[in-house]
């Protein structure tokens, strides 16, 4: 394919002067061509540079590409010809006040004033008003139509968000999801904090994806400064990312089981999830892996005494996990509820750009561990886990497969001694001037990615974070189309998306 975009590698330093800065028309046609031919958007964001706004896109096929351009006035929306851009353009409008002309559904993403001093608000919001201000939710009209509004504060111990169902009887015609309640302003804050706080903010973007986000940040800072962590650090990071996947997938299957009122696996998996969190604590002192990953390596070794306990625990857990998996998946009543519920077609999943288990359940094979491997993954065979039915059953079944695969990976990595030179505070080196790096990892929900741009003094100019949930919330909305409203909890848990990861 001839393309003006520059081909790059995952977590590699690129000098900003090497990134093609295209005339807007060329940028637009090339980006639309790439995405129109099945490419996917990893990042598409705006950033200020020397008094003007610029755009940068990172796209992927089986390779990674980057290019940028100036923001034209007016900026014509790509979304009307190519849906995958829709949320990225809404985000751009909110963050930098760039109005995408003819965007089919321009609404705010997270409800905050834009980052540019003085630029007019695209949505006409008054942010002293409560979220979502003057926004009128999408409405279906008709005599028998009714609306159900849920949240922001939900009935359980969970994060806030607002869900608006348009229903006819029990049937959901449309679900609109409004988030933003968890917005902490992390992307902006990362530009102002001292270097010692960067990894702390990185690991607290979404606590259930601590390792996934920490790895993106560490890999970018390592790429920029040219620091290469030793092989042992790569092994420990890989173990940590797989333990994170195990704990979450197991917790999700327990929650799904609870939602179809099959309580034994719900309780067993609830506890077993805790056992896997405790294995993270065993290694680094924190159940969510906080404090483990720092730019330059890891802060905790896998010394032989720790490794011994890890292996013993894994040996105890393996039969329990497999038996409870069998209990859950052999129950006909469970299958009857999971099968056919909340199906998302491959075509819809492709247009929405779903990632991770939710994408794989609808036939999207993409897995960063196989396509753009980092850490120890180049040395590990990662099987394709795709399913075809796109329903709750498929989303559960992908997790089933991945639990057994991850367990096997951790067992094999922990079987041999691991040596690493631990770091403490991480990289103290200054960042290089006018550089760029983007890092992708397969967190348990799917592709997580951070991109960093530095200015001519080596200061971070733009730090862009994308949690997999950014791609997948619309998948949940889609799964509810024409489904009974009582199936919402089941579908919601089968996606189990992050609010804070989306809201940043």
């Amino acid at each position: 394919m001839s393309n003006a975009f520059l081909q790059i590698s995952n977590a590699q330093k690129v000098s900003r002067k090497d990134i093609p800065h295209l005339p807007f028309d060329q940028f637009q046609s090339q980006a639309l061509e790439l995405v129109g031919n099945g490419g996917k958007i990893v990042h598409y964001f705006a950033y200020p540079d020397k008094g003007s706004l610029k755009l940068l896109a990172v796209l992927r096929t089986d390779k990674l590409f980057v290019a940028g351009c100036d923001v034209p006035d007016p900026y014509p929306s790509f979304t009307k010809t190519c849906e995958p851009f829709h949320l990225f353009e809404r985000e751009m409008a909110e963050q930098y006040g760039i109005r995408p002309q003819d965007h089919p559904w321009l609404k705010m993403v997270r409800y905050h004033p834009n980052y540019t001093d003085g630029a007019a608000d695209v949505f006409g919001n008054d942010y002293s008003q409560d979220i979502p201000g003057n926004y009128k939710y999408y409405q279906v009209e008709g005599e028998e139509i009714h609306e159900v509004a849920v949240g922001p504060v939900h009935a359980g111990v969970i994060e806030p968000g607002h869900f608006r169902f348009n229903c006819i009887g029990e049937r959901v015609l449309h679900l609109e999801i409004q988030l933003g309640y968890q917005h902490r302003g992390i992307e902006k804050q990362l530009l102002t904090v001292p270097a010692k706080r960067l990894p702390i903010l990185g690991e607290n973007i979404a606590g259930d994806t601590t390792i996934g986000h920490s790895l993106c940040m560490a890999q970018n800072l390592e790429a920029l400064t040219g620091v290469q962590p030793d092989q042992g650090a790569g092994v420990i990071r890989t173990i940590a990312l797989e333990l994170e996947r195990l704990a979450n997938h197991i917790g999700d299957l327990g929650a799904l089981s609870g939602d179809v009122a099959f309580l034994p696996p719900a309780n067993y998996f609830g506890r077993i999830r805790g056992d896997f969190l405790n294995l993270s604590l065993l290694i680094c002192g924190n159940r969510f892996g906080k404090g483990l990953v720092r730019p330059g390596g890891v802060r905790f070794s896998l010394s032989n005494d720790i490794r011994k306990v890890l292996n013993e625990r894994l040996a105890e857990l393996r039969p329990e996990v497999t038996h409870v998996l069998d209990l859950l998946f052999n129950a006909v009543t469970v299958r009857a509820r999971f099968e056919g519920c909340g199906a998302v077609s491959h075509e819809d999943a492709d247009h929405l750009g779903l990632v991770g288990p939710a994408g794989r359940a609808s036939g999207m094979v993409y897995d960063v561990r196989r396509c753009f491997p980092t850490e120890h993954y180049p040395h590990m065979g990662i099987p394709e886990n795709k399913k075809t039915t796109g329903d709750v059953y498929a989303r559960a079944r992908v997790r089933y497969d991945e639990i057994l695969q991850s367990l096997q990976m951790v067992e094999s990595l922990a079987a041999i001694p691991v040596e690493t030179q631990c770091v403490n505070e991480g990289i103290a080196n200054d960042l290089p001037a006018s550089s760029f790096s983007v890092a992708l990892n397969e967190a348990w929900r799917g592709e997580v990615s951070h991109a960093v741009l530095t200015d001519e003094k080596g200061k971070i100019l733009r730090y862009k974070i994308k949690d997999p949930s950014f791609h997948n919330w619309n998948g949940l909305a889609m799964s509810l189309r024409d489904t009974g409203i009582s199936d919402f909890p089941l579908n919601n848990k089968s996606f189990n998306l992050s609010y804070c990861g989306f809201d940043l």
């Binding site: 409800y111 905050h112 942010y127 409560d130 979220i131 922001p152 504060v153 359980g156 111990v157 969970i158 994060e159 806030p160 309640y181 968890q182 917005h183 902490r184 302003g185 992390i186 902006k188 804050q189 102002t192 904090v193 010692k196 706080r197 702390i200 903010l201 607290n204 979404a206 606590g207 259930d208 034994p264 309780n267 067993y268 609830g270 506890r271 805790g274 405790n278 604590l281 065993l282 680094c284 002192g285 924190n286 159940r287 969510f288 906080k290 404090g291 802060r299 905790f300 720790i306 306990v309 039969p319 329990e320 038996h323 409870v324 209990l327 052999n330 403490n424 505070e425 804070c500 809201d503």
Partner: protein, 246 residues
């Protein structure tokens, strides 16, 4: 049916016997910090400079557990003169008591006696998640799993503030959640308790300095119980709730 019974047998009885028997945690767990009296000024200054949370007061040789995220960076720089012990019983009734060289007042004795009388047999709590990273919520949620089984103490999380005796707040209270939080508080009938869980809620935690958050729940509501950590270990939560209310 047979497989259900077989599994039930394999799983056995897993609930811990706390508080009669202490629950052991893995040795790398970082609980209550202790700063040695004779720590050198230079060492403590190095530790303070490396602390990402600026939680160390060099002058008074204290760590503010309300700001600290228990990362252990200072411990690695302290030549053994700062230690994070395995003690997870670290909640306090006063914000000031979280600032410590290692000693903490016994929580049970500082609990307000009328709370014990009112809520000692039954305590219903409404949880409000207000930004943060969701790990605090996750480790509150596990209190309902068989190992911790909070329900055996008559303490439960309920769906409506109208049914609640108090609220448990997590996260640094984003601008977009502040009203919802205050409304939930208002909707809870008095007398009511307010519990701050996690470094985010107590001080802003990792997000200190962001204009989008509130640096400390006690600035906007009267807080009765402070549970530090990032997130607090489930045993820290369990200890705090039992000692304060039972």
């Amino acid at each position: 049916m047979l497989s259900v019974l077989k599994n039930r047998f394999e799983q056995g009885y897993r609930t811990n016997r706390y508080p009669e028997e202490k629950v052991k945690v893995f040795s790398r767990y970082r609980g209550r910090p202790v700063i040695q009296d004779n720590i050198s000024r230079a060492t403590l200054e190095t530790c303070a400079a490396s602390c990402p949370q600026d939680a160390i007061d060099v002058q008074n040789q204290k760590i503010d557990m309300g700001r600290c995220i228990f990362c252990g960076t200072c411990e690695n720089n302290a030549n053994g003169q700062i230690k994070f012990t395995n003690d997870y019983e670290i909640a306090t009734a006063e914000r000031a008591d979280l600032i410590t060289s290692g000693d903490l007042p016994a929580l049970a004795e500082h609990a307000k006696q009328h709370f014990k009388k009112l809520f000692g047999r039954s305590l219903q709590l409404r949880q409000v998640s207000a930004a943060g990273c969701n790990a605090c919520e996750a480790d509150l949620n596990v209190l309902a799993t068989p190992f911790f089984d909070l329900g055996r103490f008559g303490i439960n999380f309920v769906a409506s503030p109208r049914h609640a005796d108090g609220i448990v707040v997590t996260g640094p209270i984003s601008r977009n959640m502040k009203t919802a939080l205050l409304q939930t508080y208002e909707a809870t009938p008095a007398p009511k308790v307010v519990i701050a869980v996690g470094s985010c809620t107590i001080s802003g935690g990792p997000f200190i300095g962001s204009p989008e958050i509130t640096e400390g729940l006690d600035k906007i509501l009267p807080v009765d119980l402070f549970i530090p950590g990032c997130p607090p270990h489930p045993m820290t939560n369990l200890h705090a709730l039992i000692s304060f209310f039972k």
